[in-house]
Subunit: 394 residues, 2 copies
C-alpha cells in the first residue's frame, strides 16, 4: 500500500468534512475475483465527523449503483446535496457528532476511484473495456484496504442500500470480526433473473449507442450519452413503485396540445424520466455503468458458500438490522427476508423491519420517518453495546 | 369506401384461410381523433372459417402492440405459426368449423395496413413522422369500416389481449349494438403512469438510435434496429412475471467462462432477451412501434365519458367476459377488475375470471388450460344465446 494520501477536495467551512483519494496496491496488489492483480489503484472517499481515540466509532457507508462518495457534502458536479444528506449530520441518524463516517467510491466507479474511465498506468490510456471484471467482493476488499490504511480494525457499523446493501452483506461474510453491526437496506443476497434482465436492457442501450465505440469512446472523444440516458430511464422505473408513479404523475399531461407528431414528452411521467436520464449522463460514466451493474449481476453470496446462504454467516457475532420497503419490487421484502432466514439459521443477532411505504425501492433515499426511526433505534442500541455515547438529541 | 378487394396472400392448401388487403376511405375518409381525415387507406387482414348465411358467426380478433393479422396462418416473415395458433383451428376455442374469424392489422401497423412505413399517396414518399397520431378509437373505427365492407352488422364476438383488449373495450363502448359478446383479456381501460414510463423508455431507445434519422430512416436507407431491439427487450421483461423468469432462467449461465470483458450475454436470461430483440426487428417497423405504443398511452376510456368508466357501457346489452392473469403486473388483475366494477355499475352482463398463472402478461399467448377452458365455456354459452350451433367436440 502506498502511504501517500492526496487531499482531493476541501469541504469548505466545515472542517469535519473531508474528501481524499489514496493510492494503494502498488506493493501488494488487490487480487480480483477474476484472477487479475490490480495495483496501483486509487480509492476516492469522503469522511465526516471525527474518529475517536479508540477508533471504535467508524461507520462505513456503501453506495448504490448510481451513487458515489458524496453522501453528505454537495456533489461536485451537480452541486446537489449528498445522496443521504437527510440521514447525515449533527444529531441526525448518522450523527457526525458521534460517528466517524466513511464513504468511498466503489472500485469500477467514476468519481475518482479506479475504474474504466481512469488511466491504466501500464498503458497511459483509459482502461475502457480492458478494465478487469469486478465483483461486490472486490469492492469490499478494496474498502478493507482503505480501512487498513486508516488504522481501523473494526467498524462500528457498515450500512448501505441496494448495491450498498450487497456490500454490507459481503462485508459481514468476508470480515465478520471487523463488523460490529451491519445494516443492509432494500437489498438481496443475489440478483434475480428479472434484476439481471433489467440491467441487461440498460447495458444493451449503452452498447447500442454508436458513440460507445466498443467501449473506447474516451479515446475517440465521444460519449454514449443517449444510450446511458436510456439505461438510466429503464432503471429508474424499477426504483419507483407503480403507486408512487401514479400518485406523482398519474396520466397528467404537460401543458401542451394533446397530439404531437414528434413524440415529445407529453405526459409528465415522460418528462420526469427524460430529466432523470439527461442529468445522469453529466455525472456518470457509461463503462462504469456496465462494470458496476455487472458486479451486481454476479453477486450471489450463497453460491460462494456451497449454495447455503447461512454458511456465509456461520458463527458471526455481528448485530444485523435488515430493512425492506413494502412497495419495493426490485429488491422485494421476500429477498430481504431470505437473508433474515439465513441469519436466523446461523443463529445470528438479527432484527428485521419491513417499512410500510409506497415509494418503492427509492424509499431508502427519501425522507421516510419509520425508516429513520428504525435506523436510530438500532444504532442507539448497538452503540450502547459497543460502549459508545448515546445520542445527545432526544 | 373503395370496393376493390385485393387478395394479398393465399393460404395454401386450406381454402378457409385467406389474406386480403382492402383500400378504403377514398370517398368517405376516416376522421381520426387528432382531427385529420385519413383516406384512402389500406387495411390488411386475414380470415379463417366461413361466414354463415345469417352473418352471425363472425369473431373479430384484435391484436396486441407487437402482433399482427397472422393469428393462425404462419407469419410470412418469420414462418412461425400464428400468434394464437393454439386457440384457433377446427375444434379449438376459436373454432374455424363454427366461426368466421377476422383479424386485421391495426391502423399504424406495419404488415400491410396503412402506417408510417407505407407510402403517403399525397406525396409519394413514406409517411414517417408525417403520419398522423392515431388512437385505439381510430383503430376500431377503421375495423368497423372493414366490417361494413364485409357486410357484417353485428359481430358475434370481439376478443383480444393487452392492446387487443383495449380495442375490445373501445368496440363495446363505440358500437354496443354491433358487439354481441366481448372478451377483453389482460387489459385495462387506461395506461397507468408505469405503463407509459415503460413505453417511453422504448420510444427513447428508438429515437436515440442515430439510424432513426428523425423518423426518416426509410427514405435514407437506414433502420434503427438497435434502438428497436432495446425497446423490445425492455417491453419483453414487462410481459413476463418475475417467477416465470426465475423458473425459466434463474441465474443459469451460458456455457462459457465466468468473467467476460466484452459484456457478451453471460446469463441465459440475457441471451433470451437479446434473441427477443433481434428477431423482433426483422418483422416490425420502428415508427409503427412509436405510433402504436403512443396510441396505448392515449387510451383512457373513462376520460372519453366524463371521467366515469361506467358511462362507457351505459345500457349495453353486450355479454362481457373479463379475464386477467394472477401474475400479470403490466395489466394486473386490479386494472381488469376496475373494468368489471364499471360494467357492474352499468348493470352489464359480465363474467370475470382471474386465471391462476405464474407466466405474467404473456400468459394470454401461451397454452394455459384454465384460460382456454374459460374461453370455451363463455363462447359456448354466448353461442347458445346467439342461436349458433354448439361445438361438435366434446
Amino acid at each position: 500500500m502506498n502511504p501517500s494520501t492526496l487531499p482531493a477536495a476541501s469541504a469548505g467551512a466545515d472542517a469535519s468534512l473531508a474528501g481524499y483519494s489514496i493510492d494503494m496496491g502498488a506493493e501488494r496488489p488487490l487480487r480480483l475475483d477474476c484472477g487479475v492483480d490490480l495495483g496501483p489503484f486509487t480509492i476516492a472517499y469522503q469522511t465526516h465527523g471525527r474518529l475517536n481515540p479508540e477508533k471504535s466509532n467508524a461507520i462505513l457507508i456503501c453506495h448504490a449503483l448510481s451513487g458515489d462518495q458524496f453522501v453528505y457534502a454537495p456533489h461536485p458536479i451537480t452541486n446537489k446535496p449528498g445522496w443521504w444528506h437527510m440521514l447525515v449530520g449533527p444529531g441526525r441518524v448518522l450523527d457526525t457528532d458521534r460517528f466517524f463516517l466513511i464513504c468511498a467510491n466503489v472500485l469500477g466507479g467514476c468519481m475518482g476511484t479506479t475504474g474504466p474511465k481512469e488511466i491504466n498506468p501500464a498503458t497511459g490510456r483509459s482502461w475502457g473495456l480492458s478494465f478487469p471484471a469486478i465483483t461486490i467482493g472486490d469492492m469490499v476488499r478494496a474498502q478493507a484496504m482503505l480501512l487498513d490504511y486508516l488504522g481501523i480494525d473494526q467498524l462500528f457499523c457498515v450500512i448501505g442500500g441496494s448495491m450498498g446493501g450487497m456490500q454490507v452483506l459481503q462485508w459481514a461474510a468476508l470480515y465478520p470480526e471487523r463488523v460490529f453491526a451491519a445494516i443492509p437496506i432494500a437489498s438481496s443476497s443475489r440478483h434475480s433473473a428479472q434484476n439481471i434482465a433489467f440491467y441487461e436492457v440498460g447495458r444493451q442501450a449503452i452498447m447500442a449507442d454508436p458513440d460507445w465505440c466498443g467501449g473506447d469512446y474516451l479515446a475517440q472523444g465521444k460519449n454514449p450519452h443517449r444510450g446511458l440516458a436510456v439505461a438510466r430511464m429503464a432503471a429508474h422505473i424499477t426504483y419507483l413503485s407503480e403507486m408512487a408513479l401514479d400518485r406523482k404523475f398519474g396520466r397528467a399531461r404537460q401543458d401542451r396540445k394533446q397530439f404531437t407528431p414528434g413524440f415529445d414528452a407529453e405526459f409528465q411521467v415522460e418528462s420526469y424520466l427524460r430529466h432523470q436520464g439527461s442529468t445522469f449522463v453529466d455525472r456518470f460514466d457509461a463503462n462504469s455503468y456496465l462494470y458496476i451493474s455487472r458486479a451486481m449481476d454476479y453477486f450471489d453470496l450463497a453460491a460462494e458458500h456451497d449454495g447455503v446462504l447461512a454458511n456465509a454467516f456461520k458463527g458471526t457475532k455481528t448485530r444485523f438490522c435488515i430493512i425492506s420497503f413494502s412497495s419495493d419490487w426490485l429488491f422485494p421484502t421476500s429477498a430481504n427476508r431470505a437473508v433474515v432466514h439465513a441469519l436466523n439459521a446461523a443463529a445470528a443477532n438479527v432484527s428485521f423491519v419491513e417499512v410500510e411505504s409506497d415509494k418503492g425501492h427509492d424509499a431508502f433515499l427519501l425522507d421516510e420517518p419509520e425508516f429513520q426511526a428504525t435506523l436510530m433505534g438500532f444504532l442507539n442500541g448497538a452503540a450502547e453495546h459497543r460502549g459508545l455515547p448515546r445520542s445527545t438529541t432526544p
